[in-house]
């Protein structure tokens, strides 16, 4: 029993060490040459544009259902006109970043882990090194940069379509006047909320991509290992999104409010 616990602890510590080492190598790769610019552009396209559909759909329906649910609750207090305030605050501060993060954990985290994992088991990573290319610079840095910068953009898009979805439901289902919906949004939105909604996705994007890269590059055991890595990356990134969101929110509350 003690041996099992020791082995587990050793494994966990080695995992943390490996993850931190990958961060250090990534930072070195970002701030020194060689820099694979066209891979960065490719990843911005793949992670950013490629995730647009899923983010648009998730954001839209989240905003719509939020308006629907909160409209019913607010009715009990005669506060139905404030539905816009509730939708926008929820979307911008919390649901936009977290749901976008979860969607990206599913789409990008798994994709990166599967892609890098297959490259590991088919010796393509070793081939890169043999050809004089550092896999961290070539594969990890472009993905991390794309994840870091594109997640906030996708979150803003998700927030926007979420508020639009809420507007559609508020106007056509709940019978709230359109001008009232938009006024309640602008009245209730503070700059600190916007900061909260824009800072969190940077961190979530970074965490999702680095977990995907770390798990992918650590793949062992052939195609079965690739499947295992993909699952592990999605699970770890999803849990990390929720956990990191809590800690960052706590920190931002202290700093911004």
């Amino acid at each position: 029993m003690l041996t099992l616990l020791t082995d587990w602890l050793k494994g966990a510590l080695l995992g943390v060490q490996g993850y931190v080492q990958l961060q250090a190598a990534t930072m070195r790769g970002i701030f020194s040459r060689p820099f694979y610019f066209h891979d960065v552009v490719e990843q911005f396209d793949s992670i950013g544009i490629g995730s647009l559909t899923v983010v648009l759909l998730t954001g839209f329906f989240t905003g719509a259902v939020l308006a629907l649910q909160s409209g019913v609750t607010l009715d009990q207090f005669g506060a139905r006109p404030f539905v816009g305030r509730l939708v926008s605050a929820s979307m911008i501060k919390e649901l936009g970043p977290v749901l976008t993060g979860l969607m990206l954990a599913g789409r990008i985290g798994s994709g990166i882990a599967a892609e890098l994992g297959s490259m590991v088991v088919t010796d393509q990573i070793n081939a890169l090194r043999a050809l004089g290319t550092d896999p961290v610079r070539k594969l990890v840095v472009p993905r991390v940069l794309a994840g870091f910068f594109m997640t906030p953009v996708l979150t803003v898009i998700s927030d926007t379509v979420g508020i639009l979805g809420g507007w559609l439901v508020a106007v056509y289902q709940l019978g709230v006047a359109s001008s009232l919906y938009w006024t309640s949004i602008t009245d209730a939105l503070y700059l600190a909320d916007a900061w909260m909604g824009i800072i969190k996705p940077f961190i979530l994007g970074y965490v999702i991509v680095t977990i995907g890269c770390y798990v992918g590059l650590g793949t062992k055991g052939g195609t079965q290992g690739v499947g295992r890595s993909t699952t592990n990356a999605v699970v770890a990134a999803s849990v990390a999104v929720i956990a990191v969101d809590f800690f960052v929110t706590r920190l931002l509350f202290t700093l911004l409010y």
């Binding site: 060689p34 694979y36 088919t122 010796d123 393509q124 070793n126 081939a127 890169l128 090194r129 043999a130 050809l131 004089g132 290319t133 550092d134 070539k138």
Partner: protein
């Protein structure tokens, strides 16, 4: 005497120092946890020569190639590549030494998101400042050498197993490394396709003066490489049975549980009375 006529390709430039060993292993040992992979392994590969490393699966053959490339570090001993000691080098510094080495991985390890041409020219496109026209010319040249010119724009998934290995050879030779490492380059291929790979190895060694380390457990291919030579004649390259002097330039190493149990030429290997070698050869 089998002779194969192959279309000639333009001669390639090559760097090599005749006196300096291409690869020098000195008392190298390596273990993973409790498992000893290599024990006190020493050998020297001279420029233009061939080492053929034989052994059962798990005997440490491929590990030797990974140590040469610096993909693994030994627990003890020294590894010298073209005069540079690599066993203690940092990853950043070892990149420079890898310019002297080309590696043909088992199954090819081609980048599946790149075309054949992009795979072959990968190092030149990504790691050098050469003009794109020059790189393209070089890619066409090496693909001509392995007789796959017409496949330049195909994806690796569209190629057969043998073609993928030949593209891997083309990729490894594209930047003119003086030493090539072949990791089970013919495993899983039919005998005819395997022979075409063997011919490429012989051609590169004899026409381009490339030093080679061939890791295999396919005896037929090992003996083919050791006992044949390539000669350029009238714009063509002939592959034929090698003379005794040429055969001496190809040395076999037999690995057993991480230890070198035999080192010598093809004739000596055939004449060995060691029971393990006899069993392996049978």
């Amino acid at each position: 005497m089998p002779t194969h006529a192959i279309r000639d390709a333009a001669p390639l430039e090559r760097r090599s120092s005749p006196d300096l060993p291409a690869v020098d292993f000195r008392n190298v040992s390596l273990s993973f946890d409790e498992k000893i992979v290599l024990r006190d392994v020493s050998f020297t590969l001279m420029p233009g020569h061939t080492k053929i490393i034989l052994g059962a699966s798990g005997s440490g053959k491929s590990t030797i190639l990974k140590l040469i490339l610096g993909l693994l570090k030994p627990d003890a001993g020294e590894i010298w590549i073209h005069g540079s000691r690599v066993d203690r080098m940092r990853e950043d510094d070892i990149m420079d030494v890898r310019r002297h080495l080309g590696m043909v991985f088992q199954e090819g390890a081609l980048f599946d998101s790149l075309t054949v041409g992009e795979n072959v020219g990968y190092k030149l496109y990504e790691e050098t400042e050469q003009p794109l026209d020059n790189v393209r010319r070089r890619v066409e040249e090496v693909l001509g050498f392995v007789r796959l010119s017409e496949h330049i724009d195909k994806m690796p998934s569209e190629l057969s197993g043998g073609q993928r290995r030949r593209v891997a050879i083309a990729r490894a030779m594209a930047y003119k490394p003086p030493t090539l490492l072949y990791d089970e380059a013919t495993t899983g291929l039919d005998p005819i396709t395997a022979t075409t790979i063997d011919e490429e190895i012989v051609k590169l060694r004899d026409v381009e003066n490339v030093s080679s380390i061939v890791v295999t457990h396919q005896l037929r291919d090992a003996f083919f490489v050791a006992t044949h030579e390539a000669l350029r004649r009238d714009g063509q390259i002939d592959i034929r049975q090698a003379g005794p002097e040429k055969c001496d330039e190809a040395e076999f190493i037999m690995l057993r549980e991480g230890l070198i149990t035999f080192e010598g030429n093809a004739a000596e290997l055939r004449a060995s009375t060691d029971p393990y070698i006899r069993m392996f050869l049978s």
